[in-house]
């Protein structure tokens, strides 16, 4: 290898990118510049394969105060309340060191939220694991769950919802996506990351810089191979205790108006924070790298610029306010060190012991990062021909038992029991419900958080699966009376240099985007994680989503299980779409499906449903999901109240979409639904609630038995994790 080739490999730059750098600079890159380009032009920081597509996203609505471009999106809830939220992946680090990988994933997403001035009030996590018996899987599941709990519990932010999926495509590439929601009350300012004010100081706060995660950003932009083990020494360690101090101190200085701009040091650490702050503010920065607080005195300037040590922030501060700012941090036991100042610019200049070592225009690195139009094909769904769903075959009860015992149909209580779901004393619905609910402190209204993306739908049809990633959670919110407001996402895909991956990516994004547009629920923040590929095998495309919804009051919140005897049970079914879904996969069958979705009127349906969900007409409700209607009814019958059902519907085919509700007032419910005049919607009475037992044709089984099966499956799948 030539010297140049070695260098390109080390810094993970393509030779075309090198040519582009030469052109931009008018010379060869030198010294530290290599590291800067490597970090900021990595897929992770530059979104170079996805940007052209992300630009098309529906991202605005009258409620949106901040969309892409800042650390997190912000939505106005009215009455002086706002929320910031975002979701992010930590897949690669979690596969290497599951505890720390997952923990630092939570820490990172929390920083993105409080950087903006919002106090974190809720966490959620979306997890995809391989088959339970796959190599290391038990260790990975254990470590990831402990890590998420270890961090979230300690910082004192409740985890209120999540999802856990299993599939062989994740055997060697698990997904760990974490979402955080932050709250602004009437008096809380929004803080941005735009540096400004020539002469203002650049202040470094939080943990000292160590060797953690050097080259992390560019590592996350590569596929896994057998050498991954050798890349290990860069494990980042998270300290939730330190983060808690940082949250309190940062929110305090923001509230006291002591900062001009603030940015967390996330991927590519000091490099991305410095250059992005300067670039956004169209100013220069002079920074003395020798003044960066170090944990390890042998770090070189390059190490310092690339370190991903956790729990660090970069602030811009008016010199007159430095003293009070430092006092706040000191009170919380943290250091705030001046490491530079804002200049006229345009260049960022980095000094090492008084010597100028880098002098470069931030625009060159940030805005001129490459953007690729990676090849993809037009996606055509194979499931558009009308078909009638297949008939039930075999023993229904046996099939139900198999489902409940499997890793797909069993309880996730083992997971969420390890999360503090109620710290903050605001949780109204915890992880045992699909929608997590917290009370908004000032107005007392309810905020609902739910995650979307069902990987088995993505495997079936990435375009419909993308649409489903929005519609399914939106329905879950609506039926509980929450108006779906906005969306964050985490687009986990394989290698974008492969046409197949890009085709899936574009199709999924198209599905998501149309759904968001139809519901007027914009995507306002998110993250793309490409290269989820190990030894050339891609994961199932997995665009996980997080939706937030607003409910005007806490009263009449439906339960997700039957609670009262003698209530009438109805299904509300939208259109004719269906899929054989997860059960077919479990039986190693290629699922059949009909996915020609009727969009006309769906937005009205969601609106009407939201109103219904806040009325007193619905006692309990559930969106029929994986494994179809029988499984949904089973889930509603676990806590002692069952049902007697009469319906000719296929028990296990998954309707897209269908909702089960129970009501005390059947005539009023019927009248209400008829008044919507939606011709695509079918209302059907299917039975009544009754004590202790679920009965539907040949199925006749006690709630208690179902509950046992549901709860025991985890132990059966993971012997050592009971």
């Amino acid at each position: 290898m030539t010297e140049l080739q070695t260098k390109l490999k080390l810094y993970r730059l393509h030779k075309d990118e090198y040519a582009q750098i030469q052109k931009l600079l008018g010379r060869d890159p030198k010294g530290l510049e290599w590291a800067l380009f490597s970090a900021l032009w990595s897929e992770h920081c530059s979104y170079k394969s996805s940007k052209v597509h992300l630009k098309q996203l529906f991202s605005q609505s009258p409620r949106v105060l901040q969309s892409f471009g800042e650390n997190a999106g912000i939505v106005d809830l009215g009455q002086g309340e706002k929320i910031a939220f975002k979701m992010e992946s930590h897949n690669h680090p979690s596969f290497i060191e599951p505890y720390q990988g997952a923990a630092t994933g939570v820490g990172g997403i929390l920083r993105d939220i409080f950087t903006m001035g919002a106090r974190p009030i809720a966490l959620a996590n979306y997890l995809c694991f391989g088959e339970p018996k796959a190599n290391r899987m038990e260790t990975l599941v254990d470590g990831v769950v402990r890590g998420i709990g270890g961090y979230g519990n300690c910082v004192g932010v409740p985890t209120i919802t999540g999802q856990t999926h299993f599939h062989s495509s994740y055997n060697e590439n698990i997904l760990v996506n974490a979402m955080a929601v932050g709250y602004f009350g009437k008096a809380d300012p929004i803080c941005l990351s735009k540096a400004k004010g020539v002469g203002n100081l650049v202040v470094y706060v939080g943990a000292k810089t160590g060797r953690d995660g050097i080259h992390g950003a560019s590592m996350a932009s590569e596929s896994f191979d057998d050498n991954s083990a050798a890349k290990r020494p860069t494990v980042q360690i998270g300290d939730p205790f330190f983060e808690k101090l940082l949250i309190e101190a940062c929110l305090e200085v923001m509230k006291k108006d002591l900062v001009v701009a603030i940015q967390d040091m996330g991927a590519a650490g000091l490099t991305s924070s410095t250059f992005e702050m300067a670039e956004k503010g169209e100013v220069g920065i002079d920074m003395n790298l020798d003044q960066v607080p170090l944990r390890d005195s042998t770090l070189t300037p390059e190490d310092i610029m690339l370190s991903e040590s956790q729990e660090r922030m970069l602030l811009i501060c008016d010199p007159a306010k430095l003293k009070p700012l430092q006092e706040v941090f000191e009170r919380w036991g943290l250091d705030a060190s001046v490491i530079g100042k804002v200049t006229q610019g345009p260049n960022v200049r980095l000094f090492w012991n008084m010597e100028l070592i880098t002098d470069i225009n931030p625009t060159t690195i940030v805005s001129h990062a490459p953007q690729y139009q990676r090849p993809f094909e037009k996606y055509n769904s194979p499931y558009l021909k009308p078909q009638t769903p297949p008939q039930d075959t075999g023993s229904t009860l046996q099939t139900l038992e198999t489902i409940l015992k499997s890793e797909h149909g069993g309880s996730r209580e083992w997971v969420y029991r390890q999360y503090d779901q109620r710290v903050g004393a605001a949780t109204a619905r915890d992880c045992s419900d699909p929608v997590g609910v917290v009370r908004l402190p000032e107005s007392g209204r309810a905020l609902g958080v739910v995650l979307g993306c069902r990987p088995h739908m993505m495997r079936l049809d990435p375009q419909f699966g993308g649409r489903d990633s929005i519609l399914h959670p939106a329905l879950q919110l609506a039926v509980m009376g929450f108006e779906p407001l906005a969306v964050t996402d985490c687009l986990n895909f394989g290698n974008p240099e492969k046409t197949e991956t890009m085709t899936q990516f574009v199709a999924a994004l198209d599905g998501m985007n149309s759904a968001c547009r139809e519901l007027q629920a914009p995507i306002i923040s998110g993250n793309v994680s490409f290269y989820n590929e190990t030894k050339s095998k891609n994961i199932s495309p997995t665009p996980s989503t997080g939706l937030v919804g607003l409910r005007s009051k806490m009263e009449n919140l439906p339960t997700t299980a039957f609670t009262a005897e003698g209530e009438d049970i109805y299904t509300l079914t939208w259109g004719e779409c269906w899929a054989e879904g997860l059960l077919a996969e479990m039986n190693d069958k290629t699922p059949k499906a009909f996915l020609n979705f009727e969009t006309q009127g769906f937005d009205q349906f969601v609106k009407e449903l939201t109103k219904l969900g806040t009325s007193d007409l619905v006692s309990s409700a559930r969106v029929v999901s994986k494994f179809g209607l029988l499984y949904a009814l089973t889930r509603m019958s676990l806590s002692g109240m069952g049902a007697r059902i009469e319906s000719a519907q296929n028990r296990f085919v998954e309707p897209l979409y269908q909702i089960v509700v129970s009501t005390k007032n059947a005539p009023a419910l019927e009248k209400e639904v008829q008044s919507w005049s939606l011709k695509t919607l079918k209302l059907q009475k299917i039975g009544q609630t009754q004590k202790n037992e679920l009965v539907w044709a040949d199925v006749k089984v006690k709630s208690e038995v179902l509950n046992q099966l549901y709860k025991k499956s985890w132990e059966a799948q993971f012997e050592n994790l009971a």
């Binding site: 999360y419 004393a425 915890d430």
Partner: protein, 216 residues
Amino acid sequence: MSDKIGVLRFPGTNCDWDIYKAVEWSGAKPTFLWHQDTFNVEDYDGFVVPGGFSYGDYLRSGALAAHAPAMNSLRTAAEKGYPIFGVCNGFQILCEAGLLPGALLRNAGLRFIDQMIEIETQNSHKRFGLKLKKNQKSRMPIAHADGRYFVTDDELKKIQDNDQVYCTYVANPNGSAGNIAGVMNAQKNVVAMMPHPERAIYEWMGSSDGQLYFRN
């Protein structure tokens, strides 16, 4: 006239506001007390040490917080008979500070547990739970990794004989000795429990049984 309640705050305390709001709900007046500052005990009618992860639970839960300057004042308050209430990490801190008998070890299952549980009152407390009746059941959440109450067998007998057991678990979730969920000192002014009554104030929280622990 409403009670003045001092609520201690350590680095890493995260139920401080939850306790603050519960105290406020009860009609008393809460004031935060900062770990680095000593305080004048006469300015208050009682004290709460809230839950959380003081000092990240490093070394042992509550161990580092037990040495804060504010704890010296709290010790004075304890000696003078002021009512003091610890919840979760507050319980751990009070044990580590020697204000309550015993210690809290890692849960028997070695994992953090968040769960709605039921406890049974054994003895009421003059300020934090005066109206609680013996054998009265309350539902509220636990959320802890180190909740296994440990005392030597002799000591266990002593605190049982001396009516120092405050509440017990109906179904022991963590391996606590004598199913103990909450305990008092010999003088019965210092009391603490692992479950979180401040997370069970309003029906929408899933239970409002925690009210009795704050309201007199």
